[in-house]
């Protein structure tokens, strides 16, 4: 019938997921923003999405290998908890997760074979979760009969991009915290060491927000343009639109910070009022991430909104495992980290105060010495001749054998008027 409404194949796919065309266009705008594009790119994104989704129904999914190194699986959990049909799920439905220790239905030999086949076919993305353990010749982590480092190198070599997901993958995370017996480090550093050329994208966080992963995947999987992704990376190879500003910059409690309204104690009246958590050790001012904008758990809330000071889980310098978020931020509720000498840990303020107190005490003692030695009134008498001059009369610095007349002349010259001749034995400098 000509007057009967028809819907496209794509719209029916959306409808089956409970997504209207209007929702979809909003979603396309959100995806565009997530991908670091302007919202004006929404039609372009919509078209790319439409093609990708239709492609997906025909089995044309983008292969992804997800390897867990030294991980707690928290990033996988974070990714897997997406349940409602939002921006992230639509995009994540476009990938074919060919290998995941946690999520793959297959196990053992068959899933390892699936991984090997995917690597051989190429044109896939590697998501690496958890730290790379170099300790004991790589044997700190063994999976399926091989050392973890070899699994990473094999999969990274042919990948279009390697996403180091979570702070552990970025620089070792808490696995790299003192004493780091397994020699944990990040993906980027290890691959560089191993001489593997790969495009590494760092997405820190403990866990990483699934929307951050989605936003990285959009560029490659939906827009099919990895250069879009590369253009977003800062010098730590992190998407700068996500990790370019501090938590503090975008914090919903920032107004209270500006007003000088702080929470000093959990369970206090100030906490109930939602005041700023700075005195409780909030790491917002030094942690770069857009948590407060993108939110967590399907955009429901985030740490600070829930009443917890930021503990800086996104701090991860890919080139420095020592700058992992646990090492630089513990104890979390203190304004400073602990410093360590051997097994002795202490707060910087304690040691600074102790040292200052010691100096003050030494000065007091010294003051008594000055009093006893009678130096408080103008100091001790000056030496008649320098010690060194006494021992080296041939190279003497001072000239001590002046006549009274010569002295008087020099004294008048140096003080501007005649002075009584110096025949006193006492001293005392002006």
């Amino acid at each position: 019938m000509e007057n009967q409404a028809t819907i496209t194949e794509f719209d029916s796919i959306l409808a089956s997921r409970g997504v209207t065309r209007r929702d979809f266009m909003k979603l396309a705008g959100a995806v565009a923003v997530a991908a670091g594009l302007s919202e004006l790119a929404a039609p372009r994104v919509a078209q790319a999405l439409e093609e990708s989704v239709i492609g997906a129904t025909k089995g044309d999914l983008y292969p992804v290998i997800w390897i867990e190194g030294a991980s707690c699986t928290g990033c996988t959990e974070s990714f897997a908890q997406i349940e409602t049909p939002d921006v992230a799920t639509v995009v994540l439905d476009l990938i074919s997760l060919n290998y995941s220790e946690t999520l793959s239905a297959a196990a053992g030999h068959s899933v390892e074979e699936a991984k090997a086949q995917t690597i051989e076919a190429g044109n896939y993305i590697l998501v690496y979760e958890g730290a790379v353990l170099e300790g004991w010749g790589g044997n700190a982590l063994r999976v399926a009969g091989e050392v973890g480092t070899a699994a990473l190198v094999d999969a990274a070599k042919s990948a279009n991009a390697v996403v180091a997901l979570g702070s552990c993958a970025v620089n070792g995370g808490w696995c790299a915290a003192h004493p780091n017996p397994s020699n944990a480090m990040g993906v980027q550093e290890y691959l560089k060491k191993a001489g593997v050329e790969a495009t590494v994208v760092n997405v820190p966080g403990c866990p990483a927000n699934p929307e951050w992963l989605m936003s990285v995947l959009v560029d490659v999987v939906v827009m099919k343009d990895p250069s879009l992704l590369l253009a977003r990376l800062n010098d730590m190879a992190m998407p700068n639109d996500i990790f370019g500003q501090t938590i503090h910059d975008n914090c919903e409690r920032r107004g209270h910070f500006e007003n000088g309204e702080f929470v000093y104690e959990f369970g206090s009246e100030e906490e109930a009022k939602g005041y700023c958590l700075y005195p409780l050790g909030c790491r917002g001012p030094q942690t770069k991430s857009n948590c407060g904008v993108i939110l967590w758990n399907n955009r429901r809330s985030w740490c600070v909104q829930a009443g917890a000071p930021c503990i800086g889980c996104c701090e991860a310098n890919p080139n420095n495992p020592g700058q992992n978020w646990v090492e630089v931020n513990t104890p979390f509720y203190k304004r400073h980290r602990d410093l360590r000498i051997g097994d002795w840990t202490f707060q910087p303020g304690t040691i600074a105060l102790a040292l200052t107190g010691l100096v003050a005490a030494a000065l007091v003692v010294h003051g008594f010495g000055m009093k006893v030695s009678g130096r408080m009134d103008g100091g001790a008498d000056f030496e008649k001749i320098r010690k060194w001059d006494e021992k080296h009369p041939d190279k003497s610095i001072g000239k001590y054998d002046l006549t009274r007349e010569e002295k008087a002349e020099l004294a008048e010259k140096n003080c501007g008027h005649a002075v009584p001749e110096d025949d006193s034995e006492k001293g005392g400098q002006a």
Partner: protein, 216 residues
């Protein structure tokens, strides 16, 4: 006289920076927090610019090379090694530790004194730089970000800046103590530019040549 002014500026700026710095580190006095941050940044620039001015002025302003003389030389020369101080470094330390009875002869600035004063501009510049690394508007600039990476992140940078403050505090303790323990003459000269008579020192012969009993 100009160095009396720069010294006053140093004093005021350092005191305010220390007080506001403590407040920023931990808001002991919450309502002061906003003001403290503004004052801290402002006087950070004041201290740095004053330091730059002081160093440049050392090349244009004349001061006495030693105490007890009206002779004047370009100020920067009094910051370099002077013949009056030669071979006296150990003697100064001995004097401070009561290991010798007499006061060593020397230039306006004794050896340990001169070395510690010379470290102050370095400390001021280091504090200014680490401060810029922590100040939001400048922290992402390439040179600051590179420095922050070098020291292991913003937390380390904060601790370095914090320890730097204690270096200032410890310096001030020692400085105030030593400048006044033998009498207030140095303080009067530094703060109100008043000097009375006393021993007359002739830089020409590197020795004391008389005593001026008049008050000026």
């Amino acid at each position: 006289m100009i160095f009396v002014v720069t010294h006053w500026i140093n004093l005021i700026a350092m005191i305010l920076l220390i007080i506001t710095g403590f407040c920023i580190h931990f808001p002991f006095w919450p309502l002061f927090m906003g003001i403290a941050r503004g004052v801290h940044v402002f006087f950070g620039f004041v201290l740095f610019l004053n330091c730059v001015f002081r160093v440049i002025a050392a090349f244009f302003v004349k001061t006495s090379p030693t105490g007890g003389t009206r002779e004047q030389v370009p100020d920067y020369q009094t910051w370099l090694p002077q013949k009056d101080n030669r071979h006296q470094a150990i003697e100064w330390i001995k004097y401070y530790l009561f290991l010798r009875k007499t006061h060593p002869l020397g230039a306006k600035l004794g050896v340990p004194q001169k070395i510690s004063y010379l470290l102050i501009p370095i400390l001021i510049v280091a504090m200014f730089w680490t401060g810029l690394c922590l100040w939001a508007p400048t922290m992402t600039a390439a040179p600051m970000a590179a420095t922050t990476n070098l020291v292991g992140g913003l937390m380390s940078m904060r601790i370095i800046h914090y320890f730097g403050m204690y270096v200032f505090i410890i310096f001030m303790f020692i400085h105030i103590y030593l400048a006044n323990v033998e009498g207030f003459a140095p303080t009067k000269l530094m703060f109100i530019h008043k000097e009375h008579g006393g021993l007359v020192y002739a830089p020409e012969v590197h020795d004391i040549v008389g005593e001026d009993l008049e008050t000026h």
